[in-house]
């Protein structure tokens, strides 16, 4: 097998590899700024300089030539090479900064150049703490500056579009952002303007950078030149916890990270998954962080004389139990939801089963023509296929209306059917409506009992995307009844770990008074005398995998290891993007 020698260590390889990526894949490091594995390689930052040579082969025998000491003869490239764009080859010898003084010097020289016109305003820069320039300068840069002349000045605080702000002085001209709009989002909205050290990225004059994927350029930017208009100045990155999750704003199931501080989700960023969203997410998926914080239902609410008032958990359980007992089984309708997780829908289904009721129904939330063939789908919900695989009855809008008409008790799971215009207020007027929901809406307003449940940010649960891939979320945010320090699966940020209860950053009010659906249902079942204990998503999924054929082999450990599992779905269910 072909071999490459990096810093004196031999590595075998197969196929084609760019040297920088190869080194990274080995868990080693060479500093860089412009390279990105999903885009073209311009090799313009010149940071990933390494020394490259080749063992000399005897033309006739094909063996490596050796010197008098028996060492292989190496023919070095006359210049240092950028590792990003050079192909790994058999018999290649590479010295990185770890073993070569010249390479160390070249990388330091380059950082000195990058920094001369950079404003060095880390203390007021949003990127600080997650800035490749800052990190690599500490690791590989010069200790002081020899630059004693005037810096180049460029536009600052330029609102490039509704969501992205430019500070051109911080830009190091890596062209990742312009390449993104050329190669990935293909809106071609950004270009580099001017020439030489006056260069910076910009839109055409008067044009807005309203690319539906514009915020990816903020993630891509290796410095603080592009920042998010929304997130700017809200928090320093080291104050936040980063928790893996799944985008719930559409059917693609893009992998994301939720960034929390004091139980408020402050931003959403993409998490790499080669099989789903690569390194990207749409801007609208980032907006979803507000769903987790704002307009949340906290404590059960019950309608009394036409007005919803705060109630208690005991009362909510009692009311649900009473209503089910009092209503003729054939007049009870449970509606599942493509907006809720597999585990939540399963819990609901199991509850109806034990009660001897029919399986919940559901109506997919598809808006034809809103998808873009990339990461935005026509499907507005994250778990349509999950409902299908659970065997729920799929109804179109008209059939749902008919079913509702027949019912006297309607139990709704996380689906704002009035807001979706599938039902009207009058459709529900003469029924008793119980809504399990996360956020207030026109639909919850119409309910007689509203039971607050956890969002994807507050529970660990799974979603099956439009392509049939099941992926899961993690708990990012505490609810009133959980404690980050006791929950081993929750991430702890610096403040969580080292802060004390006396620190003024801890706000109890940020914890929502809600419960995971399964916890509530377990309580309700107990009160109905049923044997049902559903403790958490992980165990529910084990049960699902054991009992339902489509979910065979699914478990949290396997999903975690493989970043999701592809389930087999019927092709018609592969809702087109």
């Amino acid at each position: 097998m072909p071999e490459v020698i990096i810093d004196g260590q031999q590595y075998e390889f197969e196929g084609q590899h760019k040297l920088l990526q190869f080194i990274q894949d080995l868990g080693k490091e060479v500093p860089f700024f412009c390279y990105h594995p999903s885009m073209s390689i311009p090799a313009n930052c010149r940071q990933c300089m390494v020394k490259v040579g080749q063992y000399v082969k005897d033309r006739e025998t094909g063996d490596y030539e050796t010197d008098e000491n028996g060492e292989n003869v190496i023919r070095w490239f006359p210049k240092l090479q950028t590792a990003c764009n050079i192909d790994v080859a058999d018999g290649m010898v590479v010295h990185t900064q770890e073993t070569d003084e010249l390479v160390r010097r070249a990388q330091k020289d380059n950082l000195e150049f990058i920094l001369i016109n950079h404003p060095l305003d880390c203390p007021i820069c949003d990127q600080a703490g997650e800035c490749p320039l800052q990190i690599q300068t500490y690791k590989y840069g010069p200790e002081g500056s020899r630059f004693e002349v005037k810096k180049v000045h460029k536009p600052k605080r330029v609102q490039l579009g509704p969501r992205v702000v430019l500070d051109a002085e911080r830009c190091i001209n890596c062209t990742r952002c312009t390449r993104f709009t050329e190669e990935i989002s293909k809106t071609h909205q950004l270009t580099i303007t001017s020439r030489g050290d006056k260069n910076y990225p910009i839109t055409a004059p008067g044009a807005e950078f309203d690319d539906p994927y514009s915020l990816n350029t903020v993630d891509l930017c290796p410095v603080g030149a592009l920042t998010s208009a929304d997130f700017r100045f809200k928090a320093r990155v080291w104050e936040m916890n980063q928790t893996p999750s799944i985008d719930i704003t559409n059917g693609k199931g893009s992998n994301i990270d939720l960034w929390t501080r004091d139980n408020i989700i402050l931003r959403i960023t993409p998490r790499f998954n080669a099989d789903v969203n690569d390194h990207w997410i749409p801007d609208e998926s980032r907006e979803a962080y507000k769903l987790f914080n704002e307009n949340r239902i906290s404590r059960p609410q019950q309608k009394l004389e036409g007005e919803q008032i705060l109630s208690s958990w005991n009362n909510a359980i009692a009311t649900l139990t009473e209503q089910i007992e009092e209503t003729d089984n054939s007049k009870i309708l449970f509606i599942g939801s493509p907006h809720a997780s597999v585990e939540e829908n399963y819990s609901l289904g199991k509850f109806t089963n034990l009660l001897g009721l029919k399986q919940p129904v559901f109506t997919p939330h598809i808006e034809e023509g809103t998808g873009d063939g990339f990461l935005i789908t026509d499907d507005q919900a994250p778990n349509t296929n999950g409902c299908r695989l659970l065997g729920f009855t799929e109804l179109d809008g008209a059939s749902l209306k008919k079913e509702v008409k027949k019912a006297e008790l309607v139990v709704l799971l996380s689906d704002h059917l009035i807001d979706r215009a599938l039902l009207s207020e009058s459709d529900l007027a003469d029924k008793f409506v119980i809504a399990f929901a996360t956020n207030h809406s026109e639909t919850t307003k119409a309910a007689d009992l509203v039971i607050p449940i956890t969002t994807a940010a507050e529970h660990a649960a799974s979603y099956v995307n439009t392509d049939g891939r099941i992926q899961r979320t993690f708990r990012a945010k505490e609810i009133r009844y959980t404690n980050r320090r006791l929950d081993l699966e929750m991430s702890e940020g610096r403040l969580d770990r080292y802060g004390t209860n006396f620190d003024n950053w801890v706000t109890e009010d940020n914890k929502i008074d809600c419960l995971p659906l399964w916890s509530f249902i377990s309580e309700a079942a107990k009160s109905s005398g049923l044997d049902l204990t559903l403790t958490e998503g992980r165990e529910i999924m084990e049960e699902i995998a054991e009992t339902l054929e489509p979910f065979k082999g699914v478990s949290y450990p396997v999903m975690d290891e493989q970043s999701g599992i592809q389930l087999s779905i019927k092709s018609k269910e592969k809702t087109k993007a």
């Binding site: 071609h188 909205q189 950004l190 270009t191 001017s194 910009i202 839109t203 055409a204 004059p205 044009a207």
Partner: protein
Amino acid sequence: MAYEFTKEDLKEIEKIKAKFPEVMPATLPVLWVAQKRFGHVEPEVQKLVAKTLDLPEAHVHGVATFYTQYYKEEKGKFVLDVCTCLSCQLCGGYDILHYLEKKLGIKTGNTTEDGMFTLNQVECLGACGYAPMLQVTNDKYVNHLTPEKVDKLLDDLKEGKEPEYEKIGMPRRKNI
């Protein structure tokens, strides 16, 4: 102001496009067509070029700002590009530039109040043997400049008389 290409321009643009297998290569020549027509390639003109060629506006903007000969803003009627690079520097290019500054009463990079002249300092124009020299509005070279020659050039331009192409004879071999 709304800019439009004339029918003739559009015909020329078609001719330009025919030279290449794709439309993007027409960017530079069509920016030239636009500058010839409107005297500059301000943002609105860049937009027109992008629309005409069906190319992204940002692309045209990036190209227009990369190349120094495109006027990204309105200039004087005549743009005097004085070369001060190496050979011209050695042969008095800066003297000519300063003479023009004094004569026109403006600093390099500016336009006279009557909008007649813009004075620029430019990099090597490839007339090193005929230094010092200048170029008038991206067109004719005026070589071997002296203050007198500059005076005459300015007088001629004011009268609307543009300089002729100066054919510089080859050095005859008998001189060697």
